[in-house]
């Protein structure tokens, strides 16, 4: 996974997400605060025991929306340094990372605010679907309708 022209890492990937490697490549000397969010596969949904998940994306649009989220993070936080927005696709086992958001900044308030905005926005904007397989069946996880006033 390469840094883009802004120094960010924005990607969809079928491979396990290497969180420490991503963080190491983002942090540069001016940075004092690194806020990271990882979504990981839980062992249950409303009490049903999860066996594994399949994620699928409308890939070109999902990448476009991830880039939009990054632009919004920058617009909201001028002192945000590099960031990462990465979503895993394909089959995931329990405790694997499905999504990673990293925000780096000289200051912690920006890192936290941008990171949280990033994951909230991914969930309301990026076209990805989750098919959850239980020990006793499966379900397409109920999603959300995006906020269209962008």
């Amino acid at each position: 996974m390469e840094l883009d022209s802004a120094g960010d890492i924005i990607a969809l990937t079928p491979e396990p997400i290497d969180t420490p490697g991503i963080v190491r490549r983002l942090v540069r000397a001016r940075v004092g605060a690194v806020a990271t969010f990882e979504g990981v596969v839980r062992d249950n949904l409303h009490g049903r025991r999860t066996r594994h998940l399949d994620y699928e994306a409308y890939e070109p649009m999902a990448l476009k929306m991830l880039r939009r989220v990054a632009a919004e993070m920058r617009a909201n936080h001028p002192d945000l340094d590099r960031l990462a927005l990465i979503h895993r696709l394909g089959r995931l086992q329990l405790s694997e990372t499905s999504v990673l958001v990293v925000a780096t900044s000289p200051h912690r308030a920006t890192a936290f605010d941008a990171c949280r905005f990033g994951i909230d926005r991914i969930k309301t904007l990026v076209p990805i679907w989750k098919h959850e397989h239980f020990e006793d069946g499966d379900v397409w996880v109920e999603g959300v309708r995006p906020t269209l006033d962008l």
């Binding site: 979504g39 994620y55 699928e56 994306a57 409308y58 070109p60 649009m61 999902a62 476009k64 979503h87 499905s98 999504v99 994951i119 991914i122 969930k123 309301t124 904007l125 990026v126 076209p127 990805i128 679907w129 989750k130 098919h131 397409w140 996880v141 109920e142 999603g143 959300v144 309708r145 995006p146 269209l148």
Partner: protein, 86 residues
């Protein structure tokens, strides 16, 4: 603008893809049309999607569409359920 009857290869994702049984749902439409009309057409020609009609989303050229968003020949159109990333 001239009205043309064309084949629109609508991309389908998530449960829509599973219900259609393919990545693409071709539908005949008269262009120019709108996102709402394209959604009507796909639910008409793929009745297994009809029960989801009220929750489905349309994207035109990789942006979310509103009901009145225009669709012309050559546009990339996708139909899918509410999103569940994260």
């Amino acid at each position: 603008m001239k009205a043309d009857r064309v084949l629109l290869n609508i991309l389908v994702f998530g449960q829509c893809r599973a219900l259609v049984g393919a990545d693409v749902a071709p539908v005949m439409v008269v262009v120019p049309t709108t996102a709402a009309s394209a959604l009507d057409a796909v639910c008409d020609q793929y009745p297994q999607l009809a029960p989801l009609r009220s929750s489905l989303l349309v994207a035109v050229n990789e942006d979310y569409a509103r009901a009145e968003t225009p669709i012309n020949a050559g546009d990339e159109v996708a139909v899918f359920p509410p999103i569940a990333g994260g």
